[in-house]
Chain length 341, copies 2
Amino acid sequence: MADRTGWAGRRVLVTGGAGFLGSALCHALGQAGAEVIALDAMLPGTGARRANLRGCGARLVVADLRDADLGSLCDRVDVLFNMAGQTSHAGSQKDPFGDLAINGHAQLRLIAALRQAAPGAVVVHASTRQFYGRPQRLPVDETHPIVPPDANGVSKFAAEQYWLLEHRVHGRPVTALRLTNCYGPRMRVMDARQTFLGIWIRRLLEGEAFEVWGGDQLRDFSYADDVVAAFLAAAESLLAGTGTAGRPFNLGGDAPMSLRHLAEALVTAGGSGRYVSREFPADRAAIDIGSYHADDGAFRAATGWAPRVGLRDGLRRTVDWFRPRLTEYLTEDETEGTTVR
Amino acid sequence: MADRTGWAGRRVLVTGGAGFLGSALCHALGQAGAEVIALDAMLPGTGARRANLRGCGARLVVADLRDADLGSLCDRVDVLFNMAGQTSHAGSQKDPFGDLAINGHAQLRLIAALRQAAPGAVVVHASTRQFYGRPQRLPVDETHPIVPPDANGVSKFAAEQYWLLEHRVHGRPVTALRLTNCYGPRMRVMDARQTFLGIWIRRLLEGEAFEVWGGDQLRDFSYADDVVAAFLAAAESLLAGTGTAGRPFNLGGDAPMSLRHLAEALVTAGGSGRYVSREFPADRAAIDIGSYHADDGAFRAATGWAPRVGLRDGLRRTVDWFRPRLTEYLTEDETEGTTVR
């Protein structure tokens, strides 16, 4: 990111800033000279950790979008990277109320605060491929029907559309990036809440077998650095007014791969390891989407972005990063405190 | 509806039961011998009125889906017609929080209660064409992209998808009917909150000019009796297991008509009257969808339903119905009281 210009002195708010992708963005923005506020509720079950922000220069504000006074945080913001959200699919089925409170009500609060405090700010919203549901065709482009397979797909589509309305109705420059499986340093590896790949990496580094459910499903994977580059490119495009405002874009990554091949690639990346194949548990089978890979040609064409880190390289980098840090990442972060610099 | 068989003795819950379409359903169900519970929060700004239920035999329960104990109301229900919702487009932009609370959170509460109390009940959910947004092609079928033009479109799509998930994940027989402009006896005519046609009818009967905004936009219109017949047909199809479960269907009506021609047809229906053409107010232009008409071929094919009341006939019937009752319909209903038989 060191070649990024134009960010020096910009005031940037990153919600979910202590999480996996939010913190990766904070590091890149800090290096580029931006003034970064990382807003995070530090909720258990998310990927939020104070350690994720170590050394990046961002100011962490511990606050929950559901009830915090957001006005002062939005004041004079130039760019909002909106990474906060409830992302657990199975969790949303167990507690759709909490899922909607975070992805619906809280987003409306942030929208209202930003409209008041920073009417000119540009927004890049972290959306998801989840609401396409089980793909009706592959690869999936942005015109694919919206058929959410779980409550999280419903609420995340609502969140994205609330933000895009800020463009359609109020003219604010907003883009949404629909993410697929993302991985890399600082991801949640404690369990499978963020992605199954997290628990795979944990088990691999613990020397235990990880479980592959099914195995034939194709998925694509975005390495954190590529995701960060995409968010920065999206914001730069909005700031430059190059026609991306109001559009949702898919983000993909390296070529799609079956979960079985992914498992083998992970074992190779780790140097050793093993996995076992299992049938899908019934409650997961009901909301599983089968094979997915993104057609992200629209975003590439609009911004020139392309992923640079291949899957095997990315897996190796991720495993190497976690190897000396695994223990630290196996417990929830402490949630006390309010504002930490 | 007198020829409807199979409804005698069925326990039917109609949410929004004191509203325009909800009460029309209650009358038809009462005639068909069903045991009908009309649940309504009797909120100002909706179409809810006690008078709408006069003589239909339904039991009115005044309760709000956002906080009522719904378990006993759902107990032993065979069929739920889910007509409750916040439907004002401009209102949703002014208060997206209230809009989401009613169309999101409250629907999740009803879903949870019904899952517990009546796992076998079939559900017909009143959805809307609103979330298609400005049509990208005409007529609009169910595969049209979802591009909500306002917060109400976002929340109503979420509501529909939460209900369809009950089929996708839990197997409950659920159908959603995406309504276009509906009109007929008992509609809200006090203002334009339910449809612009309401305020047109009011002004016509008051002997005043009504305002036509724009005029070239095409719209289609469903007469209340046809909408009621569609909801009954949808439920009967679910009860018979004829393959409609899990599907959303468009509902249309008579052939589409420009608003200018509609205005002229209304004047004819009223015997006299006049209108003035106006530019769209700016805040409405921002969320207006232009021309719309539905392709409802899928629902016709699936159920054999077809609209029977032409627009000119329906307008005449509506105006004639309201003429002796207008004064009663120009004030909000009183909202006191809890349970009324």
